[in-house]
């Protein structure tokens, strides 16, 4: 027997019990919005902190410092770092942030030697608007990450103020690296001179090593070189560095995972409540179906299918809304200049729908089995 012919019956039951369906759907949508948002944050943490096999960048920071404002290293460390075996190049970076605290709207300036930056990063980003030539030409020019540009409404030719720096937008860049999403790359000297006279002082070095297998040994060698220096260093693979700096945020996102689980429990309770009430109010209706020849299993399947349809509809609304908000808002959790993007996409919608479908089945299982096991004749006596 084709189950497809029962789908219109299920849809009629769902759409024609409008108030019940809408109230349940609304609740599920809110819970799934929360769940998907938490998933988006967790996904961002994974993208920003999980190392991959082709990661070959180290970050050299001032030892025992966690904030760009306090990590000050002499720029001439660059020469000594580049002498270490396995190091391809070291790029001095001066970081200035508009807000040292955790925030959804932080602008991070990264002052870099332009030629070295382009040599190091060519092929790792694309310019979606504006031009690199314009960036190279002007001292105050910046290449702005796509997320930041979207959030602040920036486009080439505009100027913007943040952290006491006024910069010109020469181009907008798109990159897979989350640390590029929320930054404005400018010339090193421009950032060093903006507001403070910090010429010769940098926040960190981004060190490119020959191969991923050499990351640890090169990091140890760099720290050994500066162990007794006035400004000792602490060197980490780039994503481990992000994890270290953004530790508090990552912990909070981890805790938010429990909120996500709570949202799922809420979805389960909402669907179960809707199904239980529906089954209780339709005892005789289900008995009629069985009298007409529907088997117990068919009645149970119809009840579960109703739960799944409501769950999927609510889940779709909530998940799509969460992804849309994340997409439009272009949010990123930033701390100490490191960015944890809130990453939402079609994959999260699919996950949300899958979870909701599963919860719909789970929530409907017990009431459906109970309803299908009732003695038909006793159902009519009970009415």
């Amino acid at each position: 027997m084709s189950v497809l012919r029962f789908i219109p019956l299920v849809l009629k039951q769902v759409t024609r019990h409008r108030v019940r369906t809408l109230l349940t759907l609304f609740g599920i949508a809110i819970a799934m919005f929360l769940f998907t948002s938490v998933q988006a944050m967790q996904s961002g943490v994974r993208v920003a902190t999980q190392a991959t096999a082709d990661d070959t960048t180290l970050v050299v920071y001032r030892k025992d410092r966690y904030c760009p404002a306090t990590s000050e290293l002499p720029q001439d460390y660059q020469r000594r770092i580049e002498q270490i075996k396995g190091v391809e190049r070291a790029i001095p970076v001066k970081v200035v942030v508009s807000n040292c605290r955790t925030s959804l709207d932080v602008v991070t300036f990264r002052g870099v030697p332009k030629e070295s930056f382009l040599a190091d990063r060519s092929g790792q980003f694309t310019i979606v608007s504006g031009s690199v030539e314009d960036w190279m030409r002007r001292t105050d020019a910046s290449l702005v990450g796509e997320t930041l540009a979207k959030r602040r409404g920036l486009s080439p030719g505009m100027t913007f103020d943040a952290a006491g720096i006024t910069a010109y937008v020469a181009g907008v860049l798109r990159s897979d690296n989350p640390q590029d999403h929320n930054v404005a790359y400018t010339s090193l000297e421009f950032v060093q001179l903006a507001g403070h006279d910090d010429l010769g002082i940098v926040t960190q070095f981004n060190v490119k090593v020959a191969g991923a297998s050499q990351l640890e040994s090169v990091a140890e060698q760099i720290d050994d070189v500066f162990r007794t220096a006035q400004e000792p260093t602490a060197t980490f693979p780039e994503k481990a560095f992000v994890g270290r700096i953004a530790d508090d945020v990552i912990e909070l996102v981890g805790f938010a995972g429990w909120l996500g689980m709570g949202a799922l429990v809420a979805v389960l309770a909402l669907i179960a409540n809707a199904i239980v009430l529906s089954v209780q109010s339709r005892i005789s209706e289900h008995a009629v179906l069985q009298t007409l020849g529907f088997s117990s299993a068919a009645v149970a399947a119809l009840i579960i299918a109703e739960g799944v349809v409501i769950a999927l509809a609510g889940g779709a609304v909530g998940a799509v809304a969460a992804v849309a908000v994340a997409e439009v808002g272009s949010f990123a959790l930033s701390v100490e200049g490191q960015s944890i993007p809130i990453t939402a996409g079609p994959g999260l919608i699919a996950t949300g729908l899958l979870v909701c479908g599963g919860l719909g089945v789970l929530a409907g299982l017990v009431p459906a089995v109970q309803a299908s096991r009732r003695e038909i004749a006793s159902c009519f006596r009970a009415v």
Binding site: M1, R5, F6, L9, K12, Q13, R16, H17, S284, E285, A287, V288, L289, Q290, T291, L292, G293, F294, S295, S296, A297, A298, E375, I376, A377, F380, V383
Partner: protein, 238 residues
């Protein structure tokens, strides 16, 4: 051979410490094409007998053979399939699904059969036409009168062309004109389509439309009044 054969049919329920026996060793044979009215006081076992014949309840003991099939031995799944093919049930309170239109209610039993959408629609249309409610096919139960709802319920009962129609006080919730109209319809289904009809009723007037009337009391048959034989019911209500 009779269409329905009940031998020593007993149904017991446990209610707390007590055992209630609405049917107590009932013997009964019903011929194909009969229109049988079951009467008796409340608790006499009429509806229990009807439910057993309809396959929605199971006897505690005894045998119930319908069309050569001992339905008390069927599994729940096979019994459901048997009901779908052989039984049309008409309830006192119609029991239409409130969120479905008249058409959709009548279509319900056909969803279990291997029919195309076109065939299903044709069959539903015929059934609604037969009960005289085709013009209301798009109405929801709440938009119909009691008599109209019962007609839809009868259309739902006959749409699969079952051999047996069981009706539990089909006019119990209707005014007199509607009740007569429904009884005439049942009588026509019996006469024209040769449906075997077993009807539970409290109303002596409705028995006039049946071919036979049986009285039950305390789960047993009191008498078997051959209405047609006595001439009282011959053509009654026509």
């Amino acid at each position: 051979m009779s269409l329905i054969e009940c031998v020593n049919l007993t149904r017991e329920y446990r209610k707390g410490e007590n055992i209630i026996r609405p049917l107590d060793g009932l013997d009964l044979e019903i011929e194909a094409g009969d229109f049988l009215a079951l009467m008796g006081p409340s608790g006499s076992g009429k509806t229990t007998l009807l439910n057993l014949i309809a396959g929605i309840d199971s006897p505690t003991s005894g045998s119930l053979v319908i069309g050569g099939v001992d339905i008390s031995s069927l599994s729940k799944r096979r019994l459901a399939a048997w009901r779908s093919e052989n039984i049309g049930y008409v309830f006192q309170l119609y029991n239409l699904v409130p969120v479905l239109t008249a058409f959709e209610n009548v279509e319900l039993p056909l969803l279990l059969q291997k029919l195309s959408t076109k065939e299903r629609r044709a069959r539903v249309g015929e059934a609604l036409e037969m009960v005289g409610i085709a013009d209301r096919h798009n109405h929801y139960p709440r938009q119909l009168s009691g008599g109209q709802e019962q007609r839809v319920a009868i259309a739902r009962a006959i749409v699969t062309d079952p051999a047996i129609l069981v009706a539990d006080e089909p006019t119990g919730d209707l005014d007199k004109p509607s009740a007569k109209s429904v009884m005439l319809l049942l009588q026509r289904l019996n006469a024209d389509l040769n449906k075997t009809i077993i009807m539970v009723t409290h109303d002596p007037h409705t028995t006039e439309f049946a071919k036979h009337t049986l009285h039950l009391e305390k789960g047993r048959l009191l008498e078997q009044a051959g209405v047609a034989e006595s001439g009282v019911g011959e053509g009654a209500g026509r």
